[in-house]
Structures are given as structure tokens and as C-alpha cells.
Symmetry: C2
Subunit: 333 residues, 2 copies
């Protein structure tokens, strides 16, 4: 059977959450109703804001049942951005929570019988990020990294991240870039707009800064953008026009649209036409199965999503899992 | 000859700018070098930020020469958002500048020999907005309206705008919705990102609030989104998913994607494939020629842009100008 690898799935091991609760950073009293609450300084959310926490987030057995039901043979799990601390002003707290999160994730996937691989959280924007990446890969034996779109008060193209990019590139580390904040959340109040609009815009901003900030010219990264790159593909023609006509926006070696194929992009775009266009633009070799499991807004039939594209058998196998397996290399047995 | 109508073009009549300079709100000392500076409280830009001001912004003869060179027979001109005062806390100042802007625009188009039609600025978010709209249409004989994406400290779906929406609908008023601010401009510093990324995201946010805020369920507007709707089309599948699964986002009568054809969308998307997809999604009867003339990032060959679509003769004529003429109705002779 062809491997079916979901590169965009989340996990929140209970030992992490229980430790956070002991420190006053989490409230697990509504766990039986599937709700988690986190301290605002960590989550960036309002005090008391409910975060869905179905058992699949922390119980391997429940997760494996859901995977079996949808034909997913392997999941790359990463912490959701609520524990990234992207807007937290306390760098030491962010590093401490990140380390505990990675320790817990490593233990969680170690108990999954090979069904799960972990992507360690790397705290972008903080001077210790590259060290934590090395620890994740060498000590915790995690399969890759997950990074947010902001951290330490700095955008991704800030020089503070140069050592991190160099280390990710040298290790050929599979890295999931996940929105971890939204611009102007007060304007996104209501209608779930932080996630529905803020996150896709955030991915476009982060990816654009990697392009126009020259990061992708300096470093050959293995970087996957969630949700098909969010608004990035739609923004590329205008970014190209800016590159052509505005000297201040001509800072990359080539027009921004030429960088689309420097990213990998997941399939969680929730529309067959949109996904078809994404594959046409980026190439089937650049699209990876992703779901956002087990959140409410996940793709619940990822294999069906790919099958609806009518790809050639080789391209179908690539999107479903073969490319992901190739990128993960020696970490997958 | 088929009419070729550019619905998205800007004008800044000199009498307006000279009046603003007398009041300390504009600096025209660099006019010979094609640069305007506006007071930050009006423009929302940094103090001293240069705004391109080529002669085509204020000289009808220069504009008509450019129109003739590109085959545009008529332009709907509107003030650029730098004089909308969208972030200005002084409501009285915003209303005063808006009135002067509309007076100057009316005089400007009256001297154009029929080549130009004016879209009056309507100050969304302010209680006097509907009155100014009525004045624009009845006294100034302007052809329609232009609105920003924010005003008076309020988003477009704020109840303060209900009277304006009702009046726009009752008048069947052609209304251009133009981004007039960007979320978190400090994150868009460098690379011209306020315009390249902030504006397309802004149009998506404004249009989404009109949909999910129920404005389009309550009012039948004739609303054109610039730049092909910015990021709105790309965001619709995720908005639909939210509508399906999150009660807080199920506030419109139908899924958000069903509202795409409730908007008109201009052709200024700067990519043949992207425009082809826009026409496929929204329909040729919902796409109108638009350029952003005379700014640097304008479509400089709008007829060529439409011709590249390979539309049927009837659809080509509709996009080039027939639909715009129909929407403008009695205001066009």
C-alpha cells in the first residue's frame, strides 16, 4: 500500500498541559467537555478563550482510530501555535515552555508504534532557536521542525533568525511553517475571522518576508506552508508587479512568483478547484497531504481530496506520501 | 466602437490639493518632481511620506492622451484613499475634506468633455455619510460613489453604516470599494508591503464583513471590489468551511462563496491566469475593466489584458465597458 502521510496535524500531550496547569499557565477543568484554556501571555488569546481539545489531541489510540478510518498511515504531529508563545514578551518563558513541549511530544510519538512522527517547535525570533532545533533532532530524535510566523517581537526576515535558517538548511530539516498570530486581531473580532482570514494572510506575510528579505536566496530550506500557502499564491502577481516597478520591493534574486516552487504546500485548502489550481501552479511534486487534524476545521477525507484531482498514479502517490517520505529521509523507517 | 470604460482610476484635482496646502494639510513643494506630501492625520501615512503625483492625476489633457494611447474611452475617476481620512479621529475634518474633495472632483470631470465620470467619496463610518452621498448624486451630478474599507473607528458592518447601505441600494448607486488602510502597518514595513499585501488583505476583510455581517443580505448593492477582490476569492473556501462548521461564522444566509457574484470585480490582477480564473469563478458579467491609473502599479494595457482572455465577443464587450455603461445608467449619455 502506498504510504499516506499527513504532514499537518497537531498534538497536545497531556503531560505538557498538566505541567502548564501546575505553573498556572493552563486550565484543564473543562477537559471532559473537550476544552482547554491557556494563559493569555502564552496563547496570545483572550483570558478564558476556549481551545477545542478533543481526545485525539492527546490519546494515541483515538488518533490512530481516526487515521485508520481515513486511510492515513502516518501523521507528522506538531504542537498547535497556542503554545508557541509568539507574542509573549518573556523570552525565557517561551524557551522553557518550548523545551517542555518538545520533550512531551517526543515521548508522545515514541509511544505511537511508528504511526506518528514529531515536528519539534523551534522558537523563531529567539537567540536560542538553533540550539533547540539541534536538541530536537539529535537528542529527541524528532523528524523535523515546526515554526511560527513571528517570535521575540521580530518578523521572520530579522537577522536574529539567520543561524536558525543556516542550521535548518544544513540539516535538510523538514519544516512546517504555521501561522502563530494574526495582524490586528481587534479587526478580526467575530465570525472566527482570526483563523478564517487572519491565518491565511499571516502565512502570505511570513512567506513574502522570506522571499523579499532574501532568506530563500541565502538558504535552501525544506519549508512547507500550511493550507496551500494561504493567501500567498493569490498575492504573487501583485508582488511580481511590485518587484518589477518598485525598487524597494526588488530585493529578491527573482520575481516572487518564481519562489512558489521553493516551498512545499499542503492540500488543506477545502475546495477541489482551488487545490487543482495549486497543483497546476506549484507542481504535484510540491504539494503534500495535510489536514489540520484534529481541529474542527480539518480536512476530514484527505485521500478523497487528493483522489478528486484525477492525478496520474505517480503524482497521486507523491502527494499522498511519497514526497513526504523522501523529504524525511533517514528519520522514517 | 465598443465603449472601453476604466472603473478604477484615480484623480486628485489641484484645487483640492491647493486648498489642503493652505490649511497645512498638504505640501506641494515637490509637485514639479511628481511628489505630493499629505498630513499624517489625513493620509494615515508617516509624516513626509511621498505620494506619487504624476500630471495625469490632475491634468485632463495628460490623462486623455494616456487614455487614447491605451484605447480607454471613459474613466470613472475617484479620489485615492490618501484623502479619505479613514484613520483620522477628527470626524468634522474628515467630512470637511471629503466635501471639498467631491466639489473639486465634480468640477474636474465637468471640464473633461465627457471623457471622465466622477465617483464621489462617501465617508463610511460617519453619521453624515448618506447625506454626502445624496449631495454627490443630486447636487454634484457625480456618477457613483467610492468608499474606503474603514472609517470613524468602525468596520463596514457597524450599524452606523446601515443608512448609507440603504441609500446606496435605493439609488442603485455604482460603488467602488477601495482599500483605505492596512492592518498592522508596522508589520508591513519595507518592500512596499502595505500596498502589495496589506491592500489585497484589506479588501478581503471588508468584503467578508459585508457578507458575514449580513449587509449583503439586507441590501442589494452595486459594489465593485478593486484588484479582482484582492485576497477574497482565495479566502472563500476556508470561509465556507467556517460557515459550515462554526456557528459563530454562520451569520449569512448562504455560504460566503455564494456571494462572489454579488460583487463586481475589476480586471487589475496583473496575471492572465489569475484573471482567467476570476472570470471563470465570478462570470464575465461580473468583471469590469479597471487599471489603478495613474499610479505606478497600474495595468498599462488594460485592453490587451482583456483580449488575452480570449472571451466571446459579447463577453469581451461586457468586460471592456458594456456592463459598466449599463450599471451607470442615466448618468452616462
Amino acid at each position: 500500500m502506498d504510504p499516506v502521510v499527513d504532514v499537518h496535524a497537531h498534538a497536545l500531550p497531556l503531560p505538557l498541559l498538566e505541567g502548564l496547569e501546575r505553573d498556572g499557565l493552563a486550565d484543564l477543568s473543562d477537559l471532559p467537555r473537550g476544552v482547554l484554556r491557556l494563559a493569555p501571555q502564552l496563547s496570545g488569546l483572550a483570558a478564558g478563550a476556549p481551545i477545542p481539545l478533543p481526545p485525539e489531541q492527546y490519546e494515541v489510540s483515538a488518533r490512530r482510530a481516526a487515521m485508520a478510518a481515513t486511510g492515513v498511515t502516518r501523521q507528522l504531529v506538531s504542537a498547535p501555535p497556542f503554545v508557541f508563545g509568539s507574542l509573549c514578551p518573556d523570552d525565557a518563558l517561551v524557551l522553557e515552555v518550548t523545551r517542555r513541549s518538545n520533550d512531551a511530544l517526543a515521548a508522545h510519538v515514541a509511544g505511537s508504534g511508528g504511526a506518528l512522527l514529531g515536528l519539534g517547535t523551534v522558537p523563531v525570533g529567539l537567540p536560542g532557536a538553533a540550539d533547540e532545533l539541534t536538541r530536537c533532532l539529535d537528542e529527541l530524535r524528532l523528524a523535523g521542525a515546526a515554526i511560527g510566523t513571528f517570535g521575540g517581537g521580530r518578523e521572520l526576515d530579522d537577522p536574529v533568525n539567520e543561524e536558525l535558517w543556516a542550521t535548518l538548511a544544513a540539516r535538510r530539516c523538514f519544516t512546517l511553517l504555521h501561522p502563530s498570530r494574526a495582524s490586528a486581531p481587534e479587526r478580526l473580532a467575530g465570525f472566527h475571522l482570526v483563523q478564517l482570514l487572519g491565518y491565511p494572510a499571516e502565512t502570505a506575510l511570513a512567506a513574502t518576508r522570506l522571499v523579499l528579505g532574501g532568506v530563500l536566496d541565502r538558504h535552501d530550506l525544506v519549508l512547507c506552508l500550511v493550507h496551500g500557502g494561504g493567501c500567498l499564491p493569490a498575492a504573487l502577481p501583485r508582488l511580481d508587479l511590485g518587484w518589477e516597478r518598485k525598487p524597494v520591493a526588488r530585493t529578491s534574486a527573482a520575481p516572487p512568483s518564481r519562489y512558489l516552487r521553493r516551498f512545499f504546500l499542503d492540500t488543506a485548502v477545502f475546495d477541489a478547484v482551488a487545490l487543482h489550481r495549486l497543483v497546476a501552479d506549484a507542481g504535484a511534486d510540491r504539494v503534500l497531504l495535510g489536514t489540520d487534524f484534529p481541529f474542527d476545521l480539518a480536512d476530514r477525507d484527505p485521500v478523497g481530496t487528493v483522489d478528486a484531482l484525477g492525478l496520474s498514479p505517480a503524482d497521486r502517490a507523491a502527494v499522498l506520501g511519497a514526497t513526504a517520505i523522501r523529504l524525511l529521509g533517514a528519520t522514517v523507517r
